[in-house]
Amino acid sequence: MLLIHCPYCDETLPEAEFAYAGEAHIARPADPSALTDEEWRDFLFIRTNARGPHYERWRHIHGCGRFFNACRDTVSDRFLMTYKAGEERPAHATLEAAE
């Protein structure tokens, strides 16, 4: 079982307490009706599908209930770091230091 660090509880807890919630840092367009069909399709459906570090959202649903962001390596399934929702996406240099 994966162990995930919840940035709100500040504890490393089993994966069973968490729920995956898709890719992180996808901002909803401010004015959706101004978008073309292609832009709207990209917002809704087109995802990075990264091989390697992937920024994604998780929710500590059976704990504090909070959504937070994580960077997970999709090859090794290792969590490189987790950080609170609303914080900037960490640069790759920060990630390497965290490893």
Binding site: M1, Y8, C9, D10, E11, L13, P14, E15, A16, E17, I61, H62, G63, C64, G65, R66
Partner: protein, 178 residues
């Protein structure tokens, strides 16, 4: 020939349902926490998992803006009134959830072993005097550690038959020395 020895324990742990008592869910933005503390006369711990006891009222911090409040029946109306008075100045949500959960008490030398049957978290690492919302075999529960081998578990009432069935099975297994 080898023989395996089993330690039989007639009463590995005790499981009892605690009587009903009022319970509230309190939510308030962190910047308004101090103001609400004064108005309600309670201590709202800032760290998740920490508990406080004021008079007979017990408060547990469940999330950055969420607390659960166990209040004696005699203090319920006073708490609701205090919340209503401060509501305009300090917006918050104080919702009675007394009927949502039933509290079980687990105690005895193997209470910890019994909990590990359902909790994926390291229950042993939960410090005495703290509590955590976690999982017991697919049911969300709040686990309070009152002593080294004394726990309370708040279970949503619809999940209670499932949780009890597992704990009864674990008790039977422990009794037979498995």
């Amino acid at each position: 020939m080898t023989a395996q020895r089993h330690d039989f324990d007639a009463a590995p742990f005790r499981l009892e349902e605690l009587p009903w008592s009022p319970r509230f869910s309190l939510r308030v933005r962190p910047q308004n926490r101090a103001a609400l503390e004064g108005a309600l006369g309670l201590t709202l711990p800032a760290r998740i998992g920490e508990r406080s006891m004021t008079g007979g009222t017990e408060v547990l911090c469940l999330g950055p803006d969420e607390w659960t409040v166990l209040v004696p029946e005699s203090g319920r109306d006073a708490l609701v009134d205090a919340g209503a008075r401060i509501y305009a100045q300090t917006p918050h949500s104080l919702v009675e959830i007394s009927d949502r959960e039933i509290t079980l008490r687990l105690s005895g030398p193997q209470a910890l072993t019994a909990l590990t049957a359902g909790c994926p978290r390291d229950v042993e690492a939960l410090q005495t005097g703290r509590a955590a919302r976690t999982l017991f075999d697919s049911a969300t529960v709040i686990l309070w550690r009152d002593g080294a081998d004394s726990f309370r578990m708040d279970v949503w009432r619809s999940f209670l038959p499932h949780v009890r069935a597992i704990l009864d099975k674990v008790a039977a297994e422990l009794k037979s020395g498995l």
